[in-house]
């Protein structure tokens, strides 16, 4: 038992690093404030969404928004919106614009939406619900 504890100290990821991050970050708290000019990206994460692959879609969106420094975009999750057969669903709410609903999303499609829609402001028409379900 003692052996395994010693091994944990040596190789396990320590909380010391978390303290260092805290010290680095504390001066910058509040950079990502939520306000009315923020774009919201919402992924359905109920049973229907999860079963059809929403988890990697949400992870991809959240990672891409962070790595591309899209500070004005908030990625969040929601429950079932009642369109289970079209999951994974991603809704984009931009201030002053109509909501855009993307259906049957994959991580690859999600990256396209980040590039085209969130960065360039061009809706990816072929994944939008009205076009995708014909």
């Amino acid at each position: 038992m003692e052996l395994s504890i010693e091994r944990m100290d040596n190789y396990m990821k320590s909380l010391e690093e978390l303290r260092e991050i805290r010290e680095r970050m504390q001066g910058q708290v509040g950079l990502r404030s939520e306000d009315s000019s923020q774009t919201r990206v919402v992924v359905g994460m109920a049973t229907c969404g999860i079963a059809s692959g929403a988890r990697p879609v949400l992870t991809t969106l959240s990672d891409a928004v962070q790595t591309k420094n899209l500070n004005n975009v908030a990625v969040t999750q929601t429950g079932c919106i009642g369109l289970c057969q079209y999951e994974p669903i991603v809704e984009i709410f931009e201030p002053g614009k109509e909501k855009v609903t993307y259906v049957k999303m994959t991580p690859e499609k999600a990256l396209e939406v980040v590039e085209q829609h969130l960065i360039r402001g061009q809706v990816v028409a072929e994944y939008v619900i009205n076009n995708a379900i014909k």
Binding site: M8, I21, M25, A46, P56, S62, C80
Partner: protein, 185 residues
């Protein structure tokens, strides 16, 4: 059916969040000698009445208004019982709910645990108001992630801050590797 048990865990934990839990305890335990994989999700949310518990395993019961079926619990139960495992729900109104599932580890029909690190990372970073205690045990060795402890250290820096989020991912990945030596469950 969920293709990975880690997705069942994500799904059931979402119920806990909707039940306004402030603490969700998730345990994943595998033991090769005992040939068992045990998963439990315990919350301190609003709980269920006896009538609700009786109906929650019925696919045509849901509290949602957006659709008429509720497959989360039936999926999880089916995944467990299909491996000669067990499935239990205990719940008390205003106290909380515990969902426990056990699986025969070596059973051919046991779904893989899958990307449990993604599930926990997602729960922790997307529900920063809720606390999580995650414990991963393999053949008697274990590690845990307690967001209450993390928050104490972080002193106001949010769990979804990019640097902290990346740290949590690495914490989960490295420690899991150290405990199960990269075994694929």
């Amino acid at each position: 059916m969920m293709p990975e048990l880690s997705l069942n865990i994500l799904d059931v934990a979402q119920n806990s969040i909707r039940a306004n839990a402030t603490l969700i305890e998730i345990s994943v335990l595998s033991d090769a000698k005992k040939d068992i994989l045990a998963i439990s999700i315990k919350d301190n949310g609003c709980g269920m009445t006896k009538e609700q518990i009786d109906r929650v395993e019925d696919p045509f019961f849901t509290t949602r208004t957006t659709r008429k079926v509720g497959l989360g619990i039936p999926f999880f139960k089916q995944a467990a019982l299909g491996t000669n495992g067990t499935f239990h729900i205990e719940s008390t109104v205003n106290v909380g709910t515990v969902v426990t599932a056990t699986f025969t580890l070596s059973h051919i029909d046991r779904m893989p645990l899958g990307d449990i690190t993604s599930t926990i990372h997602m729960l922790v970073t997307f529900n920063t108001q809720t606390d999580f205690l995650y414990t991963y045990t393999n053949n008697g060795e274990s590690f845990s992630l307690d967001t209450r402890e993390f928050k104490k250290i972080l002193d106001g820096v949010a769990l979804n801050t990019p640097e902290v989020s990346a740290y949590i991912k690495e914490y989960l990945t490295v420690n899991k590797q150290e405990i199960d030596h990269g075994a694929f469950y």
